[in-house]
Amino acid sequence: MSDEIDIITGCKKQVPRYQRALYDKFASKMLGVCLRYSHDLEEAEDMLQEGFVKVFSHINDYRGDGSFEGWVRRVMINSAINYFVKNKRHYFQDDVDELGEVIEDERVHYDQLHVKDLLKVIQGLPGGYRTVFNLYEIEGYQHKEIAEMLGISVSTSKTQLLHAKRLLQKRLTDYNRETKGY
């Protein structure tokens, strides 16, 4: 813990050695986060790099309330969202009318998939679906918050999530059929 405080203090003073230490401490875990928000490894590493640039330039904003890892993670997620919004704005298409009533507690049956296989399926989702899915299902944000983060409407957020879950369920079924033969 004091190790972490040293690193934070060092990074606030922009000492290269501590910046490296911070990177070493969080890089693997945060790549795990970025991978979920990306299409492939290359994109994830770009997000990771941009995220760390933000972590280093905004480290003075971290006041020590709440876990540091949580703060780094939020910066990473914001960076992933920015990356996505910047590169692929057109992915968020509001087609709420097509779906009619949105049922929120539709569940996906993940089975006992290995995390890497699950990641592959998530990465295969269209970008807009993937972002909302991550924010809602894994990060635990509410639709209202997601809508604000992404600059979309609450109903778009709900629709995208529903689409994401349906597509995910379909792909998982296909995936199981391919790999297990049923």
Binding site: K13, Q14, V15, P16, R17, Q19, R20, Y23, A27, S28, K29, L31, G32, L35, R36, E45, L48, Q49, F52, V53, F56, S57, V108, Y110, V115, L118, L119, Y136, E137, I138, E139, G140
Partner: protein, 355 residues
């Protein structure tokens, strides 16, 4: 939120490739450099304009005595990268603060000013630890220059004659009233103390474990913030710290001087082995250093053949040469660098390239 999914991804990690850090490190360096140039460039322009204005006002550029020029140069050669010397005239003093030398071209009657940036700027950017501190000081120099301008215009004769007489130098140049118009943290804080003049901040860099002697400008009496009353104190800080001395000069004025002591690691860590197999872990042979300059690393085979050379701390050896991947073997490194005191270190040893 889907708890099953969250749990599954909570422990999910993957090591990024080496290139992520390389790019990141490069952008961090660029950022430091950009901020540094911005803060340095501005004072330089301001200082140039002011010098021109002052020279024009004085009519004759001969007023800048050679002795004053040498005082400024001496400041530059001080072992701290940035320092302000109370003995040098304020006008020359501020360029010295930003480590930029402004010399008037051998007092020619045209009043032409030659501005050249000191090479040391580059060496400072190579040494990122020092950059922020240099910035701090350059903020101060940027803001103290205008106040000098006021004085220089109103009392040119006194300013000129004060070159060697320190009791007069400190006198009215940086008075509270002159500099409050330029709101600035550094200056403003100093001016909260009525009747006490601010003599400047001097930055000293030492390696951890070393001690340093701080010598105050000459005066009648001294009071350091640790209680000492001598002109010189010796300190051995474990971490960077600020030291203040309040001195009474021969004109019975109280002057406050600040010393910022930067404690640097001045060490280098050299790994014993590396494995360039592309798994993202130890793929490069890369020493880690802090507070060092003029870094150079050469890698030789056991037969003494030079395989790799790098002068950048963030560029390591990936185990390849023009002839392709090098085999699992022991290799020899030779690393040289200068510490903050300019002392040259040469270290060599062996390391293993693992398959």
């Amino acid at each position: 939120m889907d708890q099953f999914l969250k749990d599954k991804f909570d422990d999910f990690e993957q090591t990024p490739s080496v290139s992520v850090w390389s790019k990141l490190d490069r952008s961090l360096r660029l950022k430091r450099y950009a901020r540094f140039s911005l803060k340095i460039g501005l004072p330089l322009v301001v200082a140039t304009i002011i010098t021109l204005v002052v020279l024009n006002n004085l009519g004759s550029p001969d007023v800048l005595q050679p002795a004053q020029n040498s005082a400024s140069l001496q400041t530059n050669q001080d072992n701290s990268y940035v320092s302000s010397d109370i003995n040098s005239s304020p006008k020359l003093n501020s360029p010295a603060n930003s480590d930029i030398e402004i010399s008037n071209s051998s007092k020619s009657s045209s009043g032409k000013v030659v501005v050249k940036s000191n090479e040391r700027i580059n060496s400072v950017t190579e040494k990122p630890v020092t950059a922020p501190d240099v910035l701090n000081n350059s903020i101060q120099s940027a803001n103290s220059t205008p106040s000098i301008k006021v004085v220089a215009e109103s009392q040119p004769q006194q300013k000129v004659s004060s070159g060697h007489d320190e009791s007069q130098i400190i006198t009215p140049q940086v008075t509270p009233s002159a500099s409050t118009s330029i709101a600035n943290d550094v200056i403003a804080n100093q001016n909260e103390l009525p009747g006490i003049l601010f003599g400047g901040t001097e930055i000293k860099q030492i390696c951890s474990g070393e001690e340093i002697a701080l010598i105050a400008p000459e005066g009648k009496s001294y009071r350091w913030d640790n209680g000492d009353i001598g002109r010189t104190i010796v300190v051995r800080p474990n971490e960077s710290q600020d030291v203040t001395v309040l001195l009474t000069n021969w004109s019975d004025q109280q002057v406050e001087m600040h010393y910022r002591i930067e404690v640097l690691d001045c060490s280098i860590y050299i790994p014993r082995a590396f494995s360039p197999n592309g798994d993202g872990q130890n793929d490069q042979f890369l020493p880690l250093g802090d507070g060092i300059s003029n870094y150079n690393m050469k890698i030789y085979s056991k037969q003494g053949e030079l395989l790799f050379e790098s002068s950048e701390l963030n560029i390591g050896w990936d185990g390849r040469t023009v002839n392709g991947k090098q085999p699992f073997d022991v290799y020899v490194y030779r690393v040289s660098f200068n510490d903050v005191n300019g002392k040259i270190h040469l270290i060599s040893g062996t390391f293993t390239l693992l398959p």
